[in-house]
Symmetry: C2
Amino acid sequence: MIEIDKMVDILKLLGDKCRLTILLLLQEKELCVCEIVEILQTSQPNISQHMRKLKDGGLVKESKRGQWVYYRLAIEDKPFLADLLAHLPGQKEQLDKVTCEDCC
Amino acid sequence: MIEIDKMVDILKLLGDKCRLTILLLLQEKELCVCEIVEILQTSQPNISQHMRKLKDGGLVKESKRGQWVYYRLAIEDKPFLADLLAHLPGQKEQLDKVTCEDCC
DNA sequence: TCATTATATAAGAAAATACTTATATATACA
DNA sequence: TGTATATATAAGTATTTTCTTATATAATGA
């Protein structure tokens, strides 16, 4: 059982196209900021700020490796979220477009 | 399968404490505007505007009966929403507080 | 028809949100 | 140590959102 306020916070995070797409991407595999920037075609600070919100909301976790910061999905404790994401189109094609040559 | 944009719209609707609580209430039974106003302790125009958003988003349906407008949940086509609501505390106690003497 | 009640709509204020540009921090490597 | 790259943070702006107050619409019943 989740408290309403907590759920509202989570749903606010999901109710943004950029962040929802990021979560879909992370479903496939962990990604670094620069990869997400390239896939979503937006600015680096924009993604960085979205990632901080997702991290603060407990939906992703980060691991620093070298100069890169990799983010991965962290919703094991929120099965309804996995169910929700499963109702959305996969983003594998988006991932194929980005190669490590581009950034990391 | 649902399009991302459509899902974002739905999640924006849910990412508000007032609207999310309304959906939880409607899970129990259909309610008229004045009942929701009393339970949520807010203004009538506020609820009326929230109901219009929920209606426009296809999450509730209305039936006019006399001077009253009753709203009911309309998420049969969105099973992930029912699943999500099931993870939240029920609102039956809130409903008990309101009697038909108060308004309708 | 007039007054009352329920609901909707309109307009405006205040707050929250998303994005931009500029800058700071941190790591890698020559 | 100095430069380049990746990421984060700060500050400002523009947009969106929520709520309020005032008013309109619609149904009821005397």
